[in-house]
Amino acid sequence: MIGIAVPLAAKLLFLAPVAAILFAFFVVRPLKPEWTHWPILLSCAIVTASSFYLAARVLGLFGIAGGSFDKDVLHWAAAGKWAVDFGLRVDGPGAAVLAMVSLVGSLIHVYAAAYMKGDPGFSRFFLVFHLFFLAMIGLLTANNYVQLYLFWELVGLASYLLVGYWFHKESARRAALQAFMTNRVGDFGFMLALFFILSTFNVAHFNVIYVKLALTQQQGGIPVLLPAIGALLIWAACAKSAQFPLYFWLPDAMEGPTPTSALMHAATMVTAGVFLLVRSWPLISAVPYLPPVVAGIGAFTAIFSAIIASTKKDLKRILAYSTVSHLGIMMMALGLNQVALAIFHLVVHGFFKAVLFLCAGNVGHAIHKPTANVDEVGGWRKAMPWTYACFLIAALSLAGVYPFGGFFSKDAILDAAWENGGLIRWFSLLISFGSAFYIFRMLFLTFHGSRPEQQGLKAHPHEAGAAFVAPVFVIALGAAGIGFAAPYVQELVLAGWRGLPTSVAAVSGVLNLAGSPLIPKLDWHGQFGLSGLMAALGFGLSYYLTMVDASWDWRWRRNHPRLEAVFESDFGWKPFVALLAGAVGAFARFCGRVLDKRWWDGAVEGSAGAAHGASEALAGYSAGRLNDYLWWMAAGAALLLGGALR
């Protein structure tokens, strides 16, 4: 569409992983499976370099010219006037997320090489892991909805295979299935939205859709199906980004190996939903009542899952609910029309949440388990100083403490919510409080406390080695310092949109990006002060309940088993979903075994039986008597005669 040649870097984004996967699968795996990660790590390096180059290109940094581009490279399918072409779109939001994904992803690859060493499925893990990486890159560089959907499904596939990686475990199998099925339920919306988009706009390309939509809006209206499209896309995003009501798969998905949880179920894959909404924001924001819905979903999910996170004991589950909460925050930002903020928080969250997960992985590794329970650990800050340090940095970032990354992104969002006013203003305060509470509760329980209820003292925790710590530390540095990149990210996002001449007018009109602040105002009197206060309150409360009244957690569980059950079932939502799934299953069994097999096929088979029965019944009329025969002949002749005389 645009007469710019695809730069080599963009090609390498695909060529390197594909080549690495093929080489690893066909050559390395049969010969030396434990070396599978080498070609893949090489590919990671290439991809990271390429994506930073592309980000620089979009920004025009370091004298690299070219900017954004959007170009078709493949005629995928065509019939008559209907055609879907595949292409590459490298623009601001894409490049920003791409840079984070490739950097964090590559480091997690390095971590995984150490973490998964010696596992019998090492080779399989790396292949699928890298396949995911490839799919995520594809998702971020897709230039149309169909292509986006393609990679959207592929990341789902990778998620399925990795959540079910330890398939001998019942829980892992169930979690994998649940993850995939829930995403399928979301994809129901996405696919339907695709069809509506295609039938409304006759095209799936973002930039063309933006222009067409802008033209329609200039004529003072929106396409009939647009509200449906928007709602369906939001639904799809809710599944992928684990928003209420479809959030429940993500905590269970922690059954996968820790690198998977870190990369896919925290830093990157789950943000695909947010990314989809960013891409679709011109469409969604054109329907006046949809953004508040998005904001509402986000805010509710953020608080809801923060509360549940506060009650969990499994480290990875706490982090999973935290992820859900932060994805809610991103959605909230989108709902408030703060697109750039949403992307920025997406990037920042990717850093600190990856660190938190990898630290949890290190802790688990110390007790030779995929994940740890707070009952099994405690007071390990001395034994695992590096891990502790990284966790602390990330926790501070998550809680939004200046100058860590989270402050710049999360508090900016809360700021925007405050400015927005209304109910969401008070939600933002609660989120601030909740985030601080659950993350510090986790920190204290894991690294500080040493209570009799915990068995951590009996274990002998230790750092697992440089390969486990170094990548984490590098990411933690990113988590600490990323806040200062905020201006660049803002510039990246805006420049990205600007760099596409055919759509710039439409986009700037639709998005109204200019007014969005990326840096939270250091306003001590307003939201900033309040949210800081709430965070401090959360910190204090968690300190009191874990360090001062050390056994409080165990006590209330013992005293209020029913209350715990309520938390355990996510306020009853999980049983409800299970009930729904069970109902579908029961209906399917009815269809398959009763309706189809017993009734309908029974009727079909019965018709053969009926024919035989009729035959047997008729046989009674053939007793072989000659006089019968003759009588019938006379009767027949008489009937003919009677007919003839009529």
């Binding site: 008597r625 006089n627 019968d628 009588w631 006379a634 009767a635 008489a638 005669l641």
Partner: protein, 165 residues
């Protein structure tokens, strides 16, 4: 005059046919049939087909009835007492009778509807009666020959089966 003679012969024939139908004894039935056939022969005569009447008497009375009687004798003569005249059916016997009676009524109706409209009766044409015998051996020769051959073939019926031979 002829009409009344025909009616009389017919009535006699009908009466004997009835007896034949209901008689338990085969001898009686056979004799009744003989009477009926003689009456039909008489009707042939009355209608000017003397040759045919003669043929009727010859063939039936002379040949067929002898055969029948011989066969009756061979089968052991009269049935013992209590032997049912009428056959059993797969359905109630009255139904068989009723059905057949209905059919007979139907036939009667047919004849009534059709018979009345026929042409006036002319006296038998002697030339025609003579012409008939020539026809049998000229234009109807083929049929005659065929029937002759058929009679030969029918005669084969009396030959025993080859196993029996």
């Amino acid at each position: 005059m002829t009409l009344w003679a025909v009616i009389l012969a017919g009535a006699v024939a009908a009466a004997f046919a009835g007896v034949m139908l209901f008689s338990r004894s085969l001898y009686v039935s056979a004799v009744c049939l003989l009477v009926v056939l003689l009456q039909t022969g008489l009707i042939f005569l009355l209608r000017g087909a003397a040759l045919l009447g003669f043929l009727q008497v010859m063939v039936y009375a002379g040949a067929v009835m002898v055969l029948v009687v011989v066969t009756i004798m061979a089968t052991g003569g009269e049935p013992e007492a209590g032997f049912a005249r009428f056959a059993d059916f797969s359905f109630p016997r009255w139904l068989a009778f009723a059905g057949l009676a209905a059919a007979a009524c139907e036939v009667a109706l047919t004849l009534y509807l059709g018979g009345a409209s026929s042409a006036p009766v002319s006296p038998a044409d002697p030339a025609m009666a003579a012409g008939f015998s020539t026809a049998l051996f000229s234009s109807y020769a083929l049929a005659t020959e065929a029937v002759t051959l058929l009679l030969f073939l029918a005669a084969l019926a009396v030959l025993p089966d080859k196993e029996a031979a």
